[in-house]
C-alpha cells in the first residue's frame, strides 16, 4: 500500500506565486474565461507557455488569447487532445513541466497523467487555483451538454470479470446530470459516493449536497447515505488515499469485484483518482476510470482566486 502522506503539496498565497514557484521549462494551462486561470498563467515563470484550447469550451478564433503558443485540438476525444498537446510540447526529456489543471477537462487530465507516466516522465508539477466562490452557488452549471455516452478513459478501461460484483466510486461534484448519467450507466452496482469535504470553502459542501440530491434515483438509495465517504476537495493525495481505503474495504469482503471510478468533483480530485489508478488500481486490475462524454462546458464558473495549490506528481512509486 502506498503512503500518500509523503507526496509534496503546499498552498501559495496569490501575491507570492512568482516568488514561491521555480522557473519551469514548459507551462501548460487549459484556457477558459476565469480570471484565476489567466492570472496564474501570467504569474508563473516559465521558458515556454502553452495554452491548450479545449474544444468543449467552443471558443471562436477571435476569443483566443494572443502572445503564447496555442494548441487547438480538433476533437473532444482525450487521445486527440493529448497527442496534439504532446506534439506541441516536443521532447520532454529532462524538462521541468508545470500543468495548471484548473481549466482542464477531467478526461483529458486523467489521460495526460497516464500518458506522462507511459512516456517515462518522472514527475511534473500540477497547480490548481481555488476560487473564492462559484458564480451561481448551487445553481452553477459546469458541463452544458453531454453525448449521453458513458465510457472509460482510453487505455484506463477494465479487464473485467463477467460474473464479478460491480462497485461505482463516484467523486460527487455540483453536476447532478453527470452523476445521474454515470449512476444510470452502472445501474446495479454498489455506489460509494465520495463527497469533496473539506470543501474548497465551507458553504460549498452544502451546495454540492443539494445539487447531488437532484441526481435522481441514486440519491434516494441506501448506499448513497450508508457508503458515503469524504476526501478533501484540494488534495489529490488524500483523495487517492481515500480511494485506496474504499477498494481495500471492498476487497476484504472477498469475491471478484469490478471497480469503476468516476471523478466528477474538482479537477484536483480527478488528479487524485488518476494517481490512485497509476499506483494501485492498474496493478490490482478490473479498475477503470469512466466519464460521461461532455460535448460543451461552461467557460466561466467562478469568482476570484483564493489561493494556489501546488502538487509534485511523482509518476514512479516511492520506495517502500
Amino acid at each position: 500500500m502506498i503512503d500518500y502522506a509523503v507526496f509534496y503539496r503546499r498552498p501559495i498565497q496569490v501575491e507570492r506565486i512568482s516568488k514561491e514557484l521555480p522557473r519551469f521549462d514548459i507551462l501548460v494551462s487549459a484556457f477558459n474565461s476565469s480570471d484565476r486561470v489567466s492570472g496564474v498563467f501570467s504569474g508563473i515563470n516559465s521558458v515556454r507557455k502553452i495554452w491548450l484550447i479545449h474544444p468543449e469550451y467552443q471558443y471562436l478564433p477571435v476569443d483566443l488569447p494572443e502572445g503564447h503558443e496555442l494548441v487547438h485540438p480538433t476533437s473532444t476525444d482525450e487521445v486527440v487532445q493529448v497527442n496534439a498537446l504532446l506534439a506541441q510540447m516536443g521532447d520532454l526529456n529532462g524538462k521541468s513541466i508545470c500543468v495548471d489543471i484548473t481549466g482542464f477537462m477531467r478526461h483529458v487530465l486523467v489521460f495526460l497523467t497516464a500518458k506522462f507516466e507511459n512516456l517515462g516522465l518522472h514527475q511534473f508539477t500540477a497547480v490548481y487555483s481555488e476560487p473564492q466562490t462559484y458564480l451561481k452557488q448551487e445553481h452553477t452549471s459546469f458541463s452544458t451538454t453531454t453525448s449521453g455516452v458513458v465510457r472509460p478513459v482510453r487505455g484506463l478501461g477494465p479487464s473485467t470479470t463477467g460474473s464479478a460484483k460491480e462497485f461505482l466510486i463516484l467523486g460527487v461534484g455540483y453536476d447532478d446530470r453527470l452523476i445521474s448519467e454515470v449512476a444510470n450507466n452502472k445501474d446495479g452496482s454498489v455506489v460509494f459516493p465520495v463527497f469533496a469535504f473539506p470543501s474548497l470553502s465551507p458553504d460549498m459542501y452544502q451546495q454540492s449536497a443539494i445539487r447531488a440530491a437532484a441526481s435522481g434515483e441514486v440519491a434516494l438509495r441506501s448506499d448513497w447515505v450508508g457508503n458515503r465517504r469524504f476526501a478533501p476537495a484540494n488534495d489529490p493525495f488524500s483523495t487517492a488515499n481515500t480511494l485506496s481505503a474504499i477498494v481495500n474495504e471492498i476487497d476484504r469482503k472477498g469475491g471478484a469485484n469490478n471497480i469503476y471510478l468516476s471523478p466528477l468533483s474538482t479537477k484536483v480530485q480527478a488528479l487524485g483518482f488518476s494517481i490512485y489508478w497509476l499506483f494501485e488500481g492498474r496493478s490490482r486490475g478490473a479498475v477503470s476510470i469512466i466519464f460521461p462524454e461532455c460535448l460543451t462546458y461552461s467557460r466561466e464558473t467562478s469568482i476570484g482566486l483564493k489561493r494556489l495549490w501546488t502538487y509534485t506528481v511523482e509518476l514512479r512509486r516511492p520506495p517502500a
Binding site: A5, T133, F230
Partner: protein, 315 residues
C-alpha cells in the same frame, strides 16, 4: 412557487447535508417565531426560511471528518513531507514512517481553554478518529511546571523534556481576543522557560482577523492554521456577503437585516447580529458559535423563542 422550492431545498439539506440532526418540526417552530414585528409576517417567514437555506451546519459526521482532515492533511502530511525532504526523496517509506512516529511521540496536543469548553471537548473526538494515543494529549499545567525568574516573572519549564512540539487546538477562532488573552501569558512563559520547543495552533474555523491575530510574533508567529478561513464575505450583511448572491428577486437583503436586527435585539440586546457583530451563519452539532446571528440559536430566555440550531450558552 418559491415557497415550494425553498421547502424542497430545506428538506434536501436536512437529509443530504445536515444528516437528519435537524428535524422538520424544529424548522417549522422556528419559522413561527416571526410574527410580523419587523414587517409583514409572511414576508418575514419567507426571508427567514430562505436565510436558513444558506446556513452552514456541520453535523457529527462532518465534524469528525474535519478533525480527521485537520490531522491527516495539516499535521501528518506536512510533517511527513518535511521528514522526507530532510532524509532525501529516495528514502524508504518504512524509514520515513519510523521517523514520523518519533516526531509524533514528542508532540503534545493541548485544548485551548477550560477542559469543559468546546475546543478541549473536541480533542476527544480528534484522538478517536485519528487513532492517537492518549499520552499525546495534555494541558498546560500537566505539561509545564511554573517557576519564577529573578524579576518575579513566570517561566514554564517542561515536565517532560522529550517533548519538542506543542499543538494548541480550538474549534473556532472568532476575533482572536479570547484565545489571545488565554494564551499570551502562557506562550511567553513557555518561550521563556523552554525556548527550543515548537508552538503551533490548529483550528477548524477562524475569521481572517482571528487567524492573523494568532499568527502575530508573540503568539504563534506564523504557525497558526485553520481548515476554513472566514473572511468578511461570511458576514451575512457585508457588502461582499457570499450567502445571498443569486437570490430570487423577491428576496431583499435589507429586509433580512432588519428582521435579524429587530428580533435579535429582543433576544440579545447588545449583540443583535452576534458577538462582536459576527453575522455568521454557522453551526456545529456540539454547539452554535455566539458569532452567529442570534435568531438562529437563542434559546428564548429574555424573549420567547424557538431556536433551530440551539446554542448552549455559558452561564
Amino acid at each position: 412557487m418559491y415557497k415550494e422550492e425553498c421547502e424542497e431545498k430545506l428538506r434536501n439539506l436536512v437529509i443530504h447535508a445536515w444528516d437528519d440532526e435537524i428535524k422538520w418540526p424544529q424548522i417549522e417552530q422556528w419559522a413561527e417565531n416571526f410574527i410580523g414585528t419587523a414587517f409583514d409576517q409572511e414576508r418575514e417567514r419567507d426571508h427567514g426560511l430562505f436565510a436558513l437555506t444558506r446556513f452552514m451546519y456541520f453535523g457529527r459526521r462532518l465534524v469528525r471528518e474535519l478533525l480527521r482532515s485537520l490531522y491527516r492533511d495539516h499535521f501528518e502530511a506536512p510533517l511527513m513531507q518535511r521528514i522526507r525532504r530532510n532524509y532525501g526523496s529516495e528514502t524508504s517509506g518504512a524509514v520515513l514512517r519510523s521517523a514520523y512516529s518519533s516526531e509524533l511521540a514528542s508532540t503534545r496536543f493541548i485544548g485551548v481553554g477550560n477542559p469543559a469548553e468546546s475546543g478541549a471537548h473536541l480533542l476527544y473526538f480528534f484522538r478517536q478518529v485519528n487513532h492517537l494515543s492518549k499520552e499525546l494529549f495534555s494541558d498546560i499545567h500537566e505539561a509545564f511546571v511554573v517557576r519564577l525568574d529573578e524579576s518575579g516573572r513566570e517561566r514554564y519549564e517542561q515536565r517532560n523534556g522529550g517533548v519538542s512540539r506543542y499543538v494548541f487546538f480550538d474549534d473556532l477562532v472568532g476575533s482572536g481576543d479570547q484565545v489571545s488573552q488565554y494564551l499570551k501569558t502562557s506562550l511567553r512563559a513557555i518561550r521563556q522557560g523552554t525556548p527550543e520547543v515548537e508552538l503551533r495552533f490548529l483550528s477548524l474555523f477562524a475569521t481572517s482577523a482571528g487567524i492573523d491575530r494568532l499568527n502575530e510574533k508573540q503568539l504563534f508567529d506564523g504557525k497558526a492554521f485553520c481548515l476554513f478561513e472566514l473572511d468578511d464575505s461570511y458576514k451575512a450583511f457585508d457588502a461582499n456577503s457570499r450567502y445571498f448572491s443569486g437570490a430570487p428577486e423577491w428576496f431583499v437583503l435589507n429586509d433580512l437585516q432588519q428582521l435579524a436586527r429587530v428580533y435579535g435585539s429582543a433576544l440579545q440586546p447588545r449583540r443583535a447580529l452576534g458577538y462582536k457583530d459576527g453575522q455568521l451563519l454557522l453551526g456545529f452539532s456540539h454547539n452554535t458559535p455566539d458569532n452567529t446571528l442570534p435568531i438562529f440559536w437563542d434559546e428564548g430566555i429574555r424573549h420567547p423563542w424557538s431556536p433551530v440550531f440551539q446554542r448552549y450558552d455559558k452561564k
